[in-house]
């Protein structure tokens, strides 16, 4: 009985993913009719460029949410990595070493989250609210009011320029390749299947021989790693390392995941859904910008999209149940 209910929800969730993709195409068509510049190279490039960090963090976070945990400290890990990058470079280290330090910082932070949640046994929501403040605080303690903005030209152009003469921002290949890797990891490997198994039922996964503790620590560390990578990109894209980089980004990343049909309760979600969720949010925002609609409205739109993404599947499901019940009687 329980499994049949689960099956039904996941079936519907799949439909939700497709609905989001359709909605995305609809928005693209609508936007290119109502504005002149939407489907131009420069604008598409802008949309992708703005989404770089959000998507890069959303990939591992999707796995983490599916496993039934959450990480609210992602933006702080990004900020801390960015500061470590700037700080190490300021000490006279080579840029490669600085990048390595930044990525390792992110990984370490994620690992600490994982230890606190899985080994010490604290709730991930509360812990990562704590580490959100902690990591951001370390970044502030490290750099204070300083900002580092002297980076080698080659790297800052990496964050800004396009590949050759195409419209693709140079960050896009990285975003796409990591997306493909995480997509395959999630949908085509035992690792991914274990993640879903844990999300659907921790106890049964444990009985089936999954090392839940180790698996989830891996997921936290992966989330940290990708937040570190996003920190590097963010730093070069804006060519600044400062403590309040990407403050508040965590909610945008989580919105992208949920909009893409990942269940906040775990166990359900797809990578293409998340990618289209992020693209949808980015495209709507871009459309609002092109229509010269006040920037203020964008905050409301983000909120409404997020609410819709949780409300729509639940409501549709309930209507379905009521209808089925009516048919049975």
């Amino acid at each position: 009985m329980v499994s049949s209910i689960k099956g039904r929800t996941s079936g519907f969730r799949l439909a939700w993913d497709t609905a989001i993709i359709l909605l995305l195409f609809f928005v693209w068509i609508f936007a290119s009719i109502t504005t002149e510049n939407f489907l131009t190279a420069i604008n598409v490039s802008q949309v992708f460029s703005n989404l770089s960090e959000i998507m890069i963090i959303a990939y591992p976070l999707t796995l983490l949410i599916i496993s039934g945990e959450i990480d609210l400290s992602i933006a702080s890990m990004l900020g801390l990595s960015s500061c470590m990058l700037g700080w190490t470079y300021l000490q006279g280290a080579s840029i490669y070493l600085a990048i390595l330090v930044a990525v390792l910082t992110g990984t370490l932070c994620g690992f600490v989250n994982g230890l606190l949640v899985m080994k010490v046994g604290l709730g991930s929501l509360a812990v990562t609210i704590g580490t959100l403040a902690l990591y951001r605080g370390i970044a502030q303690g490290l750099l204070g009011e300083q900002t580092v903005n002297e980076f080698p030209e080659f790297w800052t152009s990496f964050g800004f320029d396009t590949v050759g003469t195409t419209f693709m921002p140079q960050t896009l290949p990285l975003v796409m390749i990591s997306g493909i890797i995480f997509g395959l990891l999630m949908h085509r490997t035992p690792f991914g299947r274990r993640t879903f198994a844990i999300g659907q039922g921790v106890d049964s996964a444990r009985f089936a021989g999954v090392n839940v503790v180790r698996h989830k620590i891996w997921l936290f560390a992966l989330t940290g790693l990708m937040s570190g990578v996003a920190g590097v990109i963010y730093t070069f894209r804006f060519s600044t390392a400062q403590p309040d980089n990407a403050i508040g980004l965590e909610l945008l990343v989580i919105s992208a995941c949920l909009l893409g049909g990942v269940s906040i309760f775990g166990g359900v979600g797809t990578m293409w859904g998340v990618v289209s969720g992020a693209l949808l949010a980015g495209s709507v925002e871009s459309w609002l910008t092109l229509r010269e609609i006040q920037a203020q409205w964008r905050t409301i739109v983000t909120g409404v999209l997020l609410l819709l993404s949780v409300a729509a599947p639940v409501l549709a499901n309930r209507i379905k149940t009521i209808r089925e019940r009516a048919r049975q009687t």
């Binding site: 609210l72 609210i129 203020q296």
Partner: protein, 331 residues
């Protein structure tokens, strides 16, 4: 049962003890901290957060969360300032009536979504956090208000103190803590909240109206956030659309440090308010010690993690003692 409530009382007691120690240490380093001025400063600075923790406590006890309160404070504060700027004769009483009413609107929205549609509170209130802040951005149109556009009798409340020590706003917090603390402990509705937080399906089966309790808790949180908007004006006498931006997690932190279990079922408004005071005191202590203000957030985070850890240890211990008790009763 008595043992369990004894444990809870122990938690508030130990928190108060830590608070006293923190105040003592700070006082020895910086004697100004212990003077009337120092105390007033501390209480004034804590009032808004402490007020919001009272509203948040029942929600967290029921395993929900309300992240939209900071946005509601900001929107309410701006709307109130706007109203008084456009109606020059406005007095403090009107503000105290209008503020909570605006807050109730936000609470109603959250209540319908969380209690009515049974959507996860975390996601819903992140959504309403954006929406309410977005509304503040849109209606404000980048207009700010300063002291001269606000009711003077409201601003004068900033200097009003009781017994020469307790600022007006903090007095309201104390009254709120007593009322809500009593309500949570001695009324059926209050006890229902703990039952719901301990085991939601069991509470439902036991005939508790989960919908109504959840709905009212969100309404109440909105109400308090609206009142928080009035407090904001009293404290800062200056409002723009980013007022109180990003403060929501600080409130959750204070609630959790104050011993309200994030998994629900335990905690009191008294503890939560002490939690808010403790955070503020430790900040003050560190400033007195000469720690750079940049480390403030890092320390906040560490405190929160320690608090969650202590919670966990206490929960495990009480679980064990309850189990032992049951085994003894069986034997």
């Amino acid at each position: 049962m008595s043992r369990f409530s004894g444990l809870l009382r122990g938690r508030e007691f130990s928190l108060a003890l830590i608070l006293v120690v923190a105040i003592g240490i700070t006082g020895t380093i910086n004697p100004r901290f212990l003077t009337g001025d120092g105390t007033r400063d501390l209480l004034t600075a804590t009032a808004i957060v402490a007020l919001l923790t009272i509203g948040m406590t029942p929600i967290v006890i029921m395993r929900h969360i309300d992240l939209s309160v900071a946005s509601t404070v900001g929107l309410t504060a701006w709307l109130l300032a706007d109203y008084s700027a456009k109606n020059p004769g406005t007095n403090a009483l009107t503000m105290f009536i209008l503020g909570p009413l605006i807050g109730l609107g936000a609470g109603l929205l959250n209540g319908v979504l969380v209690a009515g549609l049974r959507l996860p509170a975390l996601v819903v209130t992140i959504g309403t956090l954006y929406i309410i802040r977005g509304i503040a951005y849109v209606v404000s149109n980048s207009v700010d208000y300063n002291a001269q556009e606000m009711p003077q009798d409201l601003l004068e409340l900033q200097f009003k103190t009781y017994f020469g020590l307790i600022p007006f706003t903090f007095m309201l917090v104390i009254i709120g803590v007593i009322l809500v603390g009593w309500y949570m402990k001695y009324t059926k509705a209050g006890r229902d909240c703990y039952a719901i937080g301990s085991n939601p399906p069991a509470a439902d089966l036991a005939g508790i109206n989960v919908f109504r309790r959840t709905f009212v808790a969100f309404l109440f949180s909105g109400f308090m956030a609206g009142l928080g908007g009035v407090f904001y004006i009293i404290r800062f006498a200056q409002v723009d659309s980013t007022a109180f931006y990003g403060q929501e997690l600080g409130i959750v932190a204070a609630v959790v440090i104050g011993g309200v279990a994030i998994f629900g079922g335990a905690g009191t408004p008294v503890g939560a308010a002490i939690g808010a005071l403790l955070v503020q005191t430790i900040q003050g202590a560190l400033a007195a010690l000469g720690v750079a203000p940049f480390w403030k957030q890092a320390i906040n985070g560490t405190l929160l993690i320690i608090a969650i850890y202590v919670d966990r240890v206490i929960a495990r211990r009480s679980e064990k003692s309850l189990l032992a008790q049951r085994i003894r009763e069986r034997a």
